[in-house]
């Protein structure tokens, strides 16, 4: 039964390089500890060539001008670890989370699906590289041999079954030492390897050749276990984990970002990483949540959470005419909260939520949508940390038919709608939804969704001849035109309005038709409607005149056209 191990050497450095790939060309050291007692935890090869070693103090590292120093980021490491698990999960459902830098996966039965073992190992290597992780891949017939080979050999290693001892033999004995032992266990392991070193055991070949009984007498069961590992003969079962569907990426900035343009570069990187991870799990996303930690310059300590682009699920997606959307934070609340939190130097969070009508997986589209959203709602303070999370969703599975009418491409349409919303206003573009009311403006705007084959076109039925008759439509004046009306016997006979084309003697009239509603609420309404004909140059135009019975005013509501 073959097993594969994915091992990321120098994990802290790899996590930092994943967030900032441009650092790969420079000597890099990762710091750990509380200021001013930070110590160097890990270094890359270039820093090592300069004489920088783990355990040195920050001050010692700063003596090297070329050295880039980064504080260890648990968030970046957890993102890198999640990416590692995603990589493994995309090849096998049985994955063991051995360590933060090591993942084991069971490849039993995968050969018929994904090809031979070397092909699978190469594919895993490429997938890890796509996730910006330089990993060592090893395939062996038992998990421990795969782990040891991955720790010992760089690149891709495939050990045929039964040849484990031969392949592992040149590796140094220290490869069996787990880097992440507890302090007391590490001390014990160090003593053990010191003993082996005194015996002249330098590599696994020598360890494997030792007589079992003599080794057992001197080192006990621990010695026997080490020998089994060196021979590649240890056997155990995997402890599979269910990888949580959490797709988050973060980057902490050394210097705050003030402009949106450099922010776009970072967002692009984060989005590409998230999309690659989602793609490796055959998922898409329907919601992106961007959290920006802001450097507080004004003394505000707030979590500015706003609704962002409206979704169908939340109640803020549409609005009735004349009812503006509820602001995320009213001016009064804002002022109160500002006065209550005069803490300088604290950081605030600025959260934007990007809800999509359909699951998508296109980093460019996401970036453009986020850019448009941030242009409309700028953060208002320098950004010191970016956190991006995606809510996974099943990808769209609808296939467009050859004989179906054309429909806008969802990704393109979403971008177009966002751009148009930037031109005309957020709540002035979308689909119209009628409300269950007799109110003349009883409608609201909701998100426009174009889904291929969402509805089959209606077949022409004999009743559809009814639809062939044109409806006399009303064109509404928004807002209605205020009018002065001269009445005779309670009926309008002359109209004076601000617009010159909507005034004069009434040639013909019909009405009044009385409407009222919502009397049980504060926004009660009651009115009389008249249909009028007025002379408009050579022609005659028809208008709807309305008498507001509560306010007493007259309005021209629209024209029949």
């Amino acid at each position: 039964m073959p097993f594969a191990c994915i091992y990321v050497p120098n994990f802290s450095v790899a996590a930092a390089l994943r967030a900032e790939p441009e650092l790969a060309m420079r000597p890099l050291a990762i710091l750990e500890g509380q200021p001013p007692l930070e110590k160097i935890l890990a270094v890359n090869g270039k820093a090592s060539d300069l004489g920088i070693a783990p355990g040195m103090s920050k001050a010692q590292g700063e003596l090297c001008m070329e050295l880039a120093l980064r504080l260890r980021s648990p968030l970046q490491e957890s993102s890198a670890h999640a990416a590692l698990l995603d990589c493994a999960q995309s090849f096998s459902p049985c994955v063991e989370d051995s360590a933060c830098d090591t993942v084991l996966l069971d490849l039993a039965g995968m050969e018929s699906l994904l090809g031979s073992l070397p092909e699978i190992a190469r594919a895993i290597f490429e997938r890890a590289a796509a996730l910006e992780l330089k990993a060592h891949i090893a395939v062996a017939s038992n998990p421990d041999a795969a782990v040891i080979a991955a720790r010992g050999f760089s690149g891709v290693t495939v050990i045929p079954a039964g040849k484990e001892a031969d392949h592992l033999s040149p590796l140094p004995a220290k490869v069996l030492l787990d880097d992440r032992l507890q302090a007391d266990q590490k001390e014990e392991a160090d003593r053990l390897f010191e003993t082996l070193d005194r015996w002249g055991i330098r590599n696994l070949r020598a360890l494997a050749a030792l007589p079992q009984i003599a080794l057992s007498e001197r080192l006990g069961q621990q010695g026997l276990l080490l020998q089994q590992l060196a021979r590649g003969a240890a056997s155990r079962t995997l402890i599979p984990v269910e990888v949580p569907l959490i797709f988050e990426e973060a980057v902490e900035l050394e210097h705050p970002i003030v402009l949106l343009e450099p922010l776009a570069f970072l967002l692009n990187r984060l989005l590409e990483q998230i999309c690659t991870r989602l793609g490796s799990r055959a998922l898409a996303t329907q919601e992106l949540r961007l959290t920006l930690e802001l450097s507080n310059l004004t003394g505000v300590e707030d979590d500015f959470e706003n609704v962002g682009i409206p979704s169908e699920s939340d109640g803020t997606n549409g609005l009735m005419w004349g009812q503006p959307p509820k602001p995320a934070l009213s001016a009064v609340e804002d002022a109160v909260r500002r006065s209550e939190a005069p803490h300088f130097g604290r950081q605030t969070k600025f959260i934007r939520k990007l809800s999509l009508p359909l699951p998508m997986l296109d980093a460019k589209v996401f970036l453009k949508l986020l850019q448009l959203d941030l242009n409309a709602h700028p953060p208002g303070a320098p950004i010191v940390k970016i956190h991006l999370a995606a809510e996974p969703a099943r990808p769209r599975s609808t296939q467009g038919g050859l004989f179906l009418p054309p429909a806008p491409e969802p990704e393109k349409l979403e971008l177009t709608l966002a751009r148009i919303a930037g031109i005309v206003g957020e709540h002035k573009v979308g689909a119209l939804e009628l409300l269950d009311t007799h109110h003349p403006e009883g409608f609201r705007m909701r998100r426009f969704v174009a889904e291929v084959a969402r509805k089959t076109p209606q077949k022409k039925t004999p009743d559809s001849t009814e639809a062939q008759a044109a409806i006399t439509a009303l064109r509404r004046f928004r807002p209605p035109l205020r009018a002065n009306v001269r009445l005779e016997n309670g009926q309008p006979v002359h109209l004076i309005c601000r617009r010159k084309d909507v005034q004069g003697d009434v040639l013909w009239k019909a009405g009044p038709w009385r409407f009222s509603g919502d009397w049980w609420e504060r926004v009660a309404w009651s009115r009389d409607e008249w249909d009028l004909a007025l002379r408009n140059g050579e022609a005659v135009s028809f208008y709807r005149l309305v008498h507001d019975l509560l306010g007493g005013s007259w309005f021209v509501e629209g024209t029949y056209d």
């Binding site: 004349g322 503006p324 602001p327 009418p405 429909a407 806008p408 177009t416 148009i420 031109i423 005309v424 206003g425 573009v429 689909a431 119209l432 009628l434 007799h438 705007m445 509805k455 022409k460 559809s464 062939q468 008759a469 044109a470 409806i471 439509a473 009303l474 064109r475 928004r478 807002p479 035109l481 005779e488 016997n489 309670g490 006979v493 617009r499 040639l507 013909w508 009239k509 019909a510 009044p512 038709w513 009385r514 926004v523 009660a524 309404w525 249909d531 002379r535 022609a539 005659v540 135009s541 028809f542 309305v546 507001d548 019975l549 509560l550 306010g551 005013s553 024209t559 029949y560 056209d561």
Partner: protein
């Protein structure tokens, strides 16, 4: 491969080269000396600058542009006149207020959504009536409505007669209308410019996006002088954007503004009527004969109820009214005269057709 320069003013003054002509016919463009470059390509020199020539197909060998697919406009009479609306072309509907432009627009939208197509309405003046569009049978899920106009500010003080109101309106004052709402000054030229800019940018984006069966530009409430500010190049761009695509671009306006860019031009107007020609308002016999304001006359309480709008409460006739009650009349529809002014498909004298629309409550 030999090329020939033909004297023409086309292609921005560049010499036009045919691929299959003999070298002996090499000539010069008018006013543009032509020379052969070291690589064998012909170059023309204008004001001392060498311009590489563009190779195009001779006009006589151009493919015949296929006739566009015609789809129904939703009104049989109009389809009989025009053959329908052409896909991949710009069509214009022109006419004054109450000439039936919106009725035809809604009928076209309803027909397109019945076919399962997605439509977009770019409403320059935000005049769409939700009840009308629902009554016309438009599938609202398939219609994208872009409402151009002023951005409404949440914090703007409401105004009454141009003055901000300081007191809180009472319950009785909160009526059907925002009585304290800011009235948009339609006479301001800058406001029209702003709307036009919004309309054109939104149209550009939607045409670029693609996938819509019908895109309507509703410029009907823009004054002609404002609508004419749209450069002709914009219409050419729009026409080019939808060429060879299944999209219909329909412009609603008061006067034709797209010039030769439109493939179909319909001039609309009310059918000849007698309103105001020697008849007093409220003249009952004259009202019976009106064509454009088809209405019913009171024939007793039963007739009134038959013709009353559904769900509408009728007031009692004769309550302190000396003259006949005006709700004895009912606006049941309009008679529309549609004249085919231009059609790319056929060169025939202008023809017209008269059809009637009916109000939603006319049964």
């Amino acid at each position: 491969m030999s090329t020939v320069v033909v004297s023409t003013s086309a292609a921005l003054g560049r010499p036009c080269l045919f691929n299959d002509e003999s070298p002996s016919r090499v000539g010069t463009t008018i006013g543009c000396p032509v020379e052969r470059s070291s690589t064998g390509h012909l170059l023309s020199t204008i004001n001392g600058r060498k311009i590489p020539s563009a190779s195009i197909t001779r006009a006589s060998r151009l493919e015949i542009r296929p006739a566009p697919e015609m789809v129904t406009s939703g009104i049989d009479a109009l389809d009989a006149l025009t053959g329908g609306l052409p896909r991949g072309c710009l069509s214009e509907l022109c006419g004054p207020a109450s000439s039936g432009r919106t009725s035809i627009m809604l009928a076209a939208l309803a027909a397109a959504t019945r076919r399962g197509e997605y439509c977009a309405l770019i409403d320059a003046n935000d005049t769409l009536d939700p009840q009308s569009i629902a009554a016309a049978g438009v599938d609202l899920d398939h219609l994208l409505w872009v409402r151009c106009g002023e951005h409404t500010s949440q914090n703007s003080q409401p105004k009454q007669n141009g003055c901000p109101t300081s007191r809180t309106p009472s319950v009785r004052e909160v009526g059907i209308f925002p009585t304290t709402a800011f009235e948009f000054d339609r006479t301001k030229p800058r406001a029209f410019e702003h709307r036009l800019e919004q309309v054109l940018r939104a149209t550009d984006l939607l045409l670029e996006s693609g996938g819509f069966g019908l895109i309507v530009l509703d410029l009907a409430d823009l004054p002609p002088q404002a609508a004419r500010r749209i450069p002709l190049t914009t219409w050419f761009r729009f026409r080019r954007a939808i060429e060879n695509k299944p999209t219909i671009l329909l412009a609603i306006e008061q006067q034709p503004i797209a010039g030769s860019c439109s493939s179909l031009l319909l001039q609309l107007g009310t059918a000849k009527n007698d309103i105001g020609h020697g008849n007093e308002p409220g003249d009952e016999p004259a009202a019976k004969q009106r064509k454009n304001a088809a209405h019913g006359v009171s024939r007793g309480s039963n007739a009134e109820e038959d013709q009353a709008p559904k769900g509408r409460k009728k007031i009692c006739a004769g309550d302190a009214l000396d003259s006949p009650p005006s709700h004895a009349h009912l606006l049941t529809g309009l008679a529309i005269n549609a004249e085919l002014t231009r059609s790319r498909l056929e060169r025939k004298p202008a023809r017209s057709v008269i059809f009637e629309t009916k109000t939603a409550w006319a049964g």
